[in-house]
């Protein structure tokens, strides 16, 4: 167990699947899946700041499918997912979000 102090960072999302496939970070584990999605951020009238732009947020969801449901995640399917998240900036300079989901429902 790491000795460093970590903070909780929990994200709940509901959105559509763009693509789904095996999780490359867990090779050989059939139930480990990876979903790619672009988070839709609808405009909120009370949340406008001139230094913030509304754009689809590229998101990768890592999760373990329950046995028998690994084939149930298809593109354009609406999902509910929650878990620990983090962000990073890819080499192209775009912000990306990674969600290590505890559960992905549909």
């Amino acid at each position: 167990m790491p000795s460093q102090v970590y903070s909780p960072a929990i994200l709940h999302l509901r959105d559509f699947i763009n693509s789904v496939g095996p999780d490359p970070s867990r090779p050989g584990q059939g139930l480990a899946l990876q979903i790619e999605a672009s988070l839709h951020l609808p405009f909120q009238t009370d949340l406008y700041s001139d230094d913030v732009e509304l754009t689809g947020l590229p998101t990768t969801v890592h999760f373990f499918a329950s046995p028998g449901n690994s084939q149930s995640y298809d593109p354009n399917k609406f999902i509910y997912a929650w878990g620990s998240f983090l962000t990073f900036v890819d080499p192209e300079g775009s912000l990306r979000l990674i969600l290590n989901a505890h559960e992905v429902d549909w």
């Binding site: 988070l39 909120q44 406008y48 509304l54 947020l57 890592h62 354009n76 609406f78 990674i98």
Partner: protein, 260 residues
């Protein structure tokens, strides 16, 4: 999710549903049009996050830039099995909700609830609209509180509360033993009973022994602590065992001693 199927016993109070399938909401995605028609409305992703305030900008109810702070957090990434530190930007809505809210000090640790509503343009970071803020003490300021006399006295009181509690076997009987000894000293020989003689031996050996009385039950009679009543001279000492001599046993007390 929603359940579909028949209700086989419609007049029963208990509803049994023989489900033909367990379908997800918004339902079967084989019909894209119907599927999209029943999708929930769009909503901002919600987050809960603990982090350290690193910077800020903007003003509340003034200007086109909302009051905001940079919040740095470190999480454990289970995919890469390493720690990842990243920064988000939390924004406070204009209005009366936050007018009395104090300014966040740098390096302070806070836990926030909010919703992602965009990406900052200056540096690509999550822009989170704050719903609530919880203040967390800094780890550096958390020290072990000194043990004060008051706190130790409180613990002692709590410990004493259990240690001084009446023992189900001995304390009540011990007080009766002490009383019987003092009574025996104040009374004449005629009032001394075998029980008091026994208790005086008990006190001299400082061993808790239940009183042997006519009303004593079997459990008291089987008390193994009676064995400790035997005076030291009645025990086989190492010298007597080595010399091979058998020590003389003291005659046991009996009612005949009293009557004689």
């Amino acid at each position: 999710m929603k359940l579909t199927g028949e209700i086989p016993f419609p007049k029963c109070h208990t509803c049994f549903l023989a489900a033909e399938g367990l379908l997800s909401h918004p339902g079967d995605d084989s019909d894209p049009h119907a599927y999209n028609m029943h999708c929930p409305e769009a909503a901002l992703p919600s987050v809960s996050l603990l982090g350290v305030v690193r910077g800020g900008g903007g003003q509340l109810n003034t200007g086109s830039t909302l009051l905001h702070y940079d919040l740095e957090t470190t999480v454990y990434d289970i995919s890469s099995k390493s720690s990842v530190t990243f920064t988000v930007c939390i924004y406070f809505r204009n209005g009366k909700r936050w007018t009395n809210f104090p300014s966040l000090a740098m390096q302070s640790r806070i836990f926030i609830d909010g919703r992602i509503f965009g990406i900052t343009t200056t540096t690509p970071r999550l822009a989170i609209g704050v719903d609530d803020v919880y203040f967390i003490p800094n780890l550096a300021s958390i020290t072990t509180p000194p043990v004060t006399p008051t706190s130790s006295a409180g613990k002692q009181t709590q410990a004493d509360r259990w240690n001084t509690r009446a023992n189900p076997l001995t304390p009540m009987k011990r007080s009766r033993m002490l009383m019987s000894v003092s009574d025996s000293q104040g009374l004449g020989e005629g009032h001394q009973t075998p029980q008091t003689s026994l208790t005086s031996a008990t006190i001299s050996s400082d061993v808790h022994v239940p009183i042997q009385s006519e009303h004593s039950n079997e459990a008291f009679g089987r008390d193994t602590t009676v064995e400790h009543l035997t005076p030291p001279e009645d025990k086989f000492s190492a010298d007597t065992i080595l010399s091979g001599s058998q020590p003389q046993r003291r005659r046991k007390f009996s009612k005949s001693n009293l009557t004689s």
